[in-house]
Amino acid sequence: MAELVKKATRESYGEALAELGDKYENLYVLDADLAGATKTGIFKKKFPDRHIDCGIAEANMMGVAAGLATTGKIPFASSFAMFASGRAFEIVRNSIGYPHLNVKIGATHAGISVGEDGASHQCNEDIALMRTIPGMTVINPADDVEARAAVEAAILHDGPVYIRFGRLAVPVFHDKDTYKFEIGKGEQLTDGNDVAIIATGLMVYEAIKAAEELKADGISARVINIHTIKPLDTELVVKAAKETGLIVTAEEHSVIGGLGSAVCDAVCAECPTKVVKIGVNDVFGHSGPAVDLLKEFGLCSENIVKTVKENLAK
């Protein structure tokens, strides 16, 4: 496989906001003292009057964003996933979700690939938390191209959106000239009928690599990118269940409540099928280089290949 350019989706987030700021004059960006890390500093530099630093106070930031949205502005409230979805959960639920306000939450540093900062900052629970809020759209882009497209789609969507971005540079495998992003529509990347590998975020590229390895062993894997975990593309998932009979989900998130759970919910109701979840197995992470942690926690193509083979053999 040819070497691809790598880029962290948090950078895509900051750059996309700065680009789209011209086109959407209603766009405002809020931070909680992390504009450098969330990369919204790029927007701040270009549009200083439309950037509001709320200080280290995520709860208030979400409420301020809600207030801005009531007046017709489109705020992107930015912080690390841990604080945006965790600390501020109840404000997101009650001040944004319940009144269905047009607030976008840009959550960076999601998952275990935060790396050295360790478990306190490695948020593996945000997708689970956010998808329980009625009316909340939850997006987890796989690469730079998708992340940028997701930011604009969120602006055009009327209602609250949670978008998850990563700190680690990941391969850019989508073609920016041809890629079409639509909220709620999954992307089938390869054809295959032996197994469906349904992945999200940085695990999508691992799934593509795994499918290539499996192909060499005569196993045809259907790779599906689910960038929008809520609303889930149930049709695509159920079709894959029916046509393959085995689903392996892959996500950089807890196996509780994330993509794997959403897929199980869909297939249980419409086409009961074996689903094997690859994710963080109900444990906290720890400090270390991101790439090493991903391997250690089985969030890699090797573990996908192994899991597929084990389950096909059963």
């Binding site: 405002y28 009057d49 439309r50 509001i52 709320c54 200080g55 106070a57 709860a59 208030n60 979400m62 409420g63 301020v64 964003a65 809600a66 207030g67 801005l68 949205a69 009531t70 007046t71 017709g72 502005k73 705020p75 109840e90 404000i91 009650n94 001040s95 319940y98 009144p99 269905h100």
Partner: protein
């Protein structure tokens, strides 16, 4: 204050109190105590201060009001109904299945409600966002919010307090309803937020005090608030929880209890007598 206006406001406030009792009685639940303590302030705001438009509740340039102490929704609903946002008769549907009047303010369904609240400490942040929005795009509307004195035990209130002062939100007026009681008892016994004035001063706010049941005092306070520049304003109002209904006054047990039929009749008879006296 002009004597005629004062009399009108007193009469309206009395009717607003009757609407509160009517709502809570018919709901068989709700929060009468803290609703009655803010009845005069809300009446003043909606009948003498706010630029609001009952026929166009979402009018972009209207003043905003956020009831951060959202559990006292019966007071907000009653004042909105009397101001013409929806029929007074609808107050009897409070908390009923299928009703618009939810247990706590719901901006999606109730005309005139500018923010959904109920979880304490959150409304003031949204009010900050609205005030900031006006500053960002040079709009002239003002934002008012009422918080409970127990509510300010929430940490988010102080995040918002810091934010409002930092951003010089002089188009924001917060009222702290200091009736001295919260569910578990006196605020000074539960987890004292006193001194409230010194705390807000330290956070960079302009502090005003007023008597929550004296329209001269109320008018003076809100007029002073309008003269303040570069600072948000907090009005700390000394109020009586349960004000207007003798057996509810200063009784913590009436924080979140509905009157039974006998109590309802007594409350309404007391308020009717007050109204008759006012109407002379």
């Amino acid at each position: 204050m002009d004597e005629l206006l004062k009399k009108q406001l007193q009469i309206t406030a009395c009717k607003v109190r009757m609407g509160i009792i009517e709502g809570v009685y018919n709901a068989k639940s709700g929060h009468p105590g803290g609703s009655l303590s803010i009845a005069d302030t809300l009446t003043y705001l909606y009948f003498a201060k706010l630029n609001v438009y009952p026929n166009d509740p979402k009018y972009a340039e209207r003043d905003r009001f956020v009831l951060s102490k959202g559990h006292t929704a019966p007071a907000l609903y009653s004042v909105l109904a009397h101001r013409g946002f929806f029929p007074v008769e609808e107050l009897k549907t409070l908390r009923h299945i299928g009703a618009r009047l939810q247990g706590h303010p719901d901006m999606k369904h109730i005309p005139g409600v500018d923010m959904s609240t109920g979880s304490l400490g959150q409304g003031i942040s949204a009010a900050c966002g609205m005030a900031l929005s006006a500053k960002l795009t040079s709009e002239t509307y003002k934002v008012y919010a009422i918080l409970g004195d127990g509510e300010i035990e929430e940490g988010q209130v102080w995040e918002a307090a810091m934010f409002a002062a930092h951003n010089k939100l002089d188009n924001l007026v917060a009222v702290v309803d200091n009736n001295g009681l919260q569910i578990d008892g006196k605020i000074s016994d539960v987890c004292s937020p006193y001194p409230i004035d010194e705390k807000f001063k330290a956070f960079g706010w302009h502090v005003i005090t007023m008597d929550a049941h004296d329209f001269d005092s109320i008018e003076k306070a809100f007029n002073e608030a309008e003269t303040v520049v570069n600072q948000p304003v907090v009005i700390i109002q000394t109020s009586v929880k349960g004000k207007g209904v003798s057996f509810m006054e200063n009784q913590v047990s009436w924080h979140g209890t509905a009157p039974n039929k006998e109590q309802y009749e007594q409350a309404m008879s007391e308020l009717t007598a007050q109204l008759k006296e006012l109407e002379g």
